[in-house]
């Protein structure tokens, strides 16, 4: 119904078909080696470029949003992490923002009740959904280090164990070595992505503002999570072969092993697309949040002067010009003046009566 979301859905389906068809006609080298390399290069170079590009723009003013009592007189309790004045306080503010999505936690929902009362209720779902999504993604990412490191680091194993503590006791007849742990992160990721998509679809205001570029990564990540889960629990692909391929990539001895099915290449292709797309999209909020001037600056703006690198002199209306225009009236009113008129009052001032701006009645 919505061309923007359809566009993205079709795009992801097309990507799926490309990868599927590609492996079918034997382009494993392209999808298993060439595209992943290109993607990772684009990701690293693109990410670095974007961050450097942002850094090149000046920060002329210190404009943090003060979210709490500033540091002033000693008996007022300073909100250290909402109006930080030291570097460390800023670090804590940023950490809370980046690790716990603190601003999003404040989210409220406005309601118009009984036609005349406006109420604001805590709206926690977006925060929960966003947190679940990002942490699930992070866990999945760390888990996947298993495919790129040999031996598998203890930390990765630990996270795997924690992640898979939840074991579903379904006994397949053909299971050889006990039950594979169900990785919660994968399921949570899938559910969270679905939620984030659903709110774009069903909350009218969010649907109204959503662009194709908002749906596309959701579909893509859904595709990634789905193919991953499919491989692990349903297709049960040859993990050793998959690792052979990924290890080949990181050790720069790429090779295409036998026995890796099309789903794997689709999964890898989706990931490659995500990586390549990342730096050129809104996904760069990952890097941008660190540079956000309303969050990463100290609020002691009156105590420490901030330098504007491009500050330039501007024309001003000096006191002398002012007094020259109003000297007569000032003297008459008994106001002190710097220069007593010697012979004639200054007449050559341009702002004579005609060019004088129209006076307004009531204004602050």
């Amino acid at each position: 119904m919505n061309s923007r979301y359809m566009f993205s859905l079709v795009a992801v389906i097309v990507l799926f078909l490309i990868a599927w068809a590609g492996t079918a006609i034997g382009l494993q080298v392209v999808f298993g080696i060439i595209i992943p390399y290109i993607a990772i290069i684009l990701f690293i170079a693109g990410f670095a470029y974007r961050v450097m590009n942002w850094s090149q723009s000046a920060v002329p003013f210190r404009i943090p949003t003060t979210g709490g009592q500033h540091k002033s007189l000693p008996w007022f309790e300073h909100a250290k992490f909402d109006s930080p004045v030291t570097r460390w306080q800023v670090v804590v503010r940023m950490a809370l923002e980046i690790l716990t999505f603190r601003s999003l936690f404040r989210n409220t929902r406005m309601r118009l009740k009984e036609g005349s009362k406006i109420s604001f209720q805590l709206e926690i779902f977006l925060w929960v959904g966003a947190l679940a999504f990002h942490y699930a993604f992070l866990t999945v990412l760390i888990r996947h280090l298993r495919f790129f490191l040999e031996p598998v680091p203890f930390l990765v194993q630990l996270i795997e164990n924690v992640d898979s503590f939840f074991r579903i006791e379904i006994l397949y007849p053909f299971i050889q070595f006990g039950l594979p742990g169900v990785f919660l992160s994968g399921l949570v990721l899938l559910i969270a992505v679905t939620y984030l998509f659903a709110r774009r679809l069903f909350i009218p205001q969010v649907r109204y503002i959503s662009l194709a570029s908002d749906y596309f990564p959701l579909f893509l990540i859904f595709g990634i999570a789905f193919t991953g889960i499919y491989m692990r629990y349903i297709a049960k692909i040859d993990v050793a072969a998959a690792k052979e391929l990924t290890m080949g990539l990181v050790t720069f001895r790429p090779a295409i092993p036998e026995g890796v099915g099309a789903v794997f290449y689709i999964h890898l292709f989706f990931v490659s697309i995500l990586l390549a797309y990342f730096p050129f999209s809104k996904l760069m909020h990952l890097g941008g949040i660190f540079l956000s001037p309303t969050r990463n600056l100290t609020t002691d703006t009156r105590a420490r002067r901030h330098i504007n690198p491009w500050n330039y002199p501007v024309p001003v209306h000096t006191y002398e010009e002012y007094e020259d225009e109003f000297r007569g009236k000032m003297i008459e009113a008994g106001l002190p003046v710097d220069k007593m008129p010697a012979e004639k009052p200054a007449e050559e001032e341009p702002p004579a009566e005609e060019s004088k701006p129209v006076e307004e009645e009531k204004k602050e």
Partner: protein, 547 residues
């Protein structure tokens, strides 16, 4: 207010569901009551801003310069380089929608383009088209569109429906500040002469006469002299304000709105009484200036450069008069400018001293570089040290609540000082609900130069969330006085209250201070500063409530 204006019960029927048509397809409808008149070319010309000409928002032809698209494009590019904030905010929004119902204009109007995210998208759409490859290739599907006359009109209409209150920036997970985007957008519009007159003319006035209202020096003194008479009538004490005094200890700067119109005038009288008290008792030496007679800065709503030009008078006058530091009155955006811009723009201030209260000896460490102290910081310190002789019962007829003004809240962090002062001068103080105060405070609906008469519908709808919270404490606690530390609030809130909560009046904090302040040699003080009888203190011997 116009006669045909809808009643509150009607105006509050707000439809928050967006229309069927896509926002890029929904044509702009510049509606009466929602916009301010175009800038007067004389005012634009006076301060030397480009493309001054008469134009009318309702007409098709805005008489734009021929190369206006190029001007906007180049201006956009320049600002992306100069302001990291602008560039980042153009790039990283994920359109999560958390900001949508945080904007008072969206809550009050239901117009989807008043959702902060969509207001920013108005600019972002052009940004994507002009400055990103993906936008160029994918076009509309990716939210990109070329600049056109319709887009420009949309910019103008909606950028002057944002009061740069920064409430959305509190809730944005990336701290995206729509104020910043509006500031840039308005700068761009000003490059092609598209300001509103309610901003352009005060700017020109301020440049010439030192204040937005165009009050000339002799008239400024006259107005304060008039307050001197009023104060004498009410308290029996004659205060003596000092003007342009060289060698005074402190320079006082406050918005001219408080010199000009009720109820701000009572706050101005409050300052004068406080200064008089301190002068008599402690030899306090403070001067007003007719040259730097404006605390506010409508240049801030025009461009960074204009802001700097107008702001320069504060330090220039402090230097000329040879004062030690500057005390600033109650004002909203004035304090954002002082707190976050002034020192950077017009400093450093080696000619001033680090501010120390001459009465308590308190060092205002937090203002040691900018050297400008907020009057509620100053007064709170006086109260803390027991330096004021206060009789809070003279405010007993008032049940007071406090409106945090946007800029001192989210651009400074001034929350506890005014509350401390109020609670020491009033016995009845009630907070509005937590989601509507402090960093969550709602705008009066009239900030950033939108406090005109022409856009009354915008002001009343935008002020609705604030008014609704006032109504809540009015009904619950009988609150009858809304206090604030902002001159635009004092100019704008009375109309808002009159419409939504007519039983509530508006006051500045220092009016409350002055009501409570005992002056040496005062009379029985049977009335408050407004000349209204204080219950229980009515006329013992004399009847003098004439205005």
């Amino acid at each position: 207010m116009a006669e045909e204006f809808p009643k509150p019960e009607e105006l509050i029927q707000i439809e928050h569901r967006p229309p069927k048509t896509d926002w890029m397809e929904t044509p702009i409808n510049i509606r009466k009551g929602m916009y301010c008149y175009a800038s007067n070319p004389k005012s634009v010309e006076y301060v030397g801003l480009p493309n001054a000409r008469p134009w009318n928002p309702l007409e098709d032809d805005w008489h734009l310069p021929e190369n206006w698209q190029q001007i906007i494009h180049e201006g956009f590019k320049e600002r992306l380089e100069r302001f990291r904030s602008f560039k980042i905010f153009m790039d990283i929004c994920v359109r999560c929608g958390a900001c949508a119902d945080k904007c008072h204009y969206f809550i009050g109007t239901g117009d989807p383009k008043n959702m902060p995210v969509l207001r920013a998208e108005l600019l972002r759409s052009v940004y994507r088209n002009d400055f990103t490859r993906a936008g160029k290739i994918l076009g509309k599907i990716n939210g990109a569109r070329p600049m056109s006359l319709d887009v420009l009109k949309e910019w103008w209409y909606y950028l002057f429906q944002c009061s740069e209150c920064r409430r959305c920036s509190v809730f944005c997970p990336y701290g995206i500040d729509t104020a910043e985007i509006t500031i840039m957008g308005r700068e761009l519009l000003n490059l092609i002469g598209l300001n509103i007159d309610w901003i352009a003319t005060p700017v020109a006035n301020c440049y010439r006469t030192g204040n937005h209202l165009g009050i000339q020096p002799h008239a400024f003194k006259d107005m304060l002299d008039f307050f001197v008479d009023d104060i004498e009538e009410i308290t029996g004490v004659r205060v003596e304000p000092q003007f342009n005094k060289k060698g005074a200890d402190i320079l006082f700067i406050t918005p001219s709105g408080d010199v000009f119109a009720d109820p701000g005038t009572y706050t101005a009288m409050g300052y004068m009484m406080l200064f008089h008290f301190l002068q008599e008792k402690y030899g306090f030496d403070i001067t007003w200036s007719t040259y730097a007679s404006e605390g506010g800065n409508f240049g801030f709503f025009t461009s960074h450069e204009t802001m700097k030009r107008l702001n320069s008078k504060m330090y220039a006058e402090a230097k000329r008069l040879g004062v030690k530091w500057i005390l600033g009155g109650e004002c909203g955006h004035m304090w954002r400018v002082i707190n976050q811009y002034m020192d950077t723009m017009n400093g450093p201030t080696d000619f001033l001293e680090e501010p120390v209260s001459p009465i308590t000896g308190t060092k205002f460490e937090n203002a040691k570089s900018t050297k400008m102290v907020h009057i509620t910081e100053f007064t709170a310190d006086l109260i803390k040290h027991g330096k004021l002789d206060l009789d809070p019962s003279r405010n007993d007829h008032l049940k007071v609540t406090y409106h945090d003004s946007c800029n001192p809240s989210r651009g400074m962090g001034l929350f506890d000082e005014p509350r401390y002062v109020i609670q020491n001068v009033c016995n009845h103080f009630y907070e509005m609900p937590a989601n509507t105060i402090r960093e969550n405070t709602f705008c009066c609906g009239s900030g950033t130069g939108l406090n005109a008469g022409q856009n009354m519908e915008l002001r009343l709808t935008g002020g609705l969330p604030r008014a609704n919270a006032v109504k809540y404490v009015h009904e619950k606690y009988g609150v009858n006085m809304l206090s604030c530390v902002c001159a635009i609030d004092r100019a704008a809130l009375p109309a808002l209250m009159e419409y939504w909560v007519p039983e509530v009046d508006v006051t500045g904090v220092h009016e409350l201070v002055a009501n409570a302040l005992n002056l040496e040699g005062q009379n029985d003080r049977p009335t408050d500063l407004r000349g209204e009888d204080l219950p229980g203190r009515e006329v013992d011997s004399e009847e003098e409530t004439d205005e």
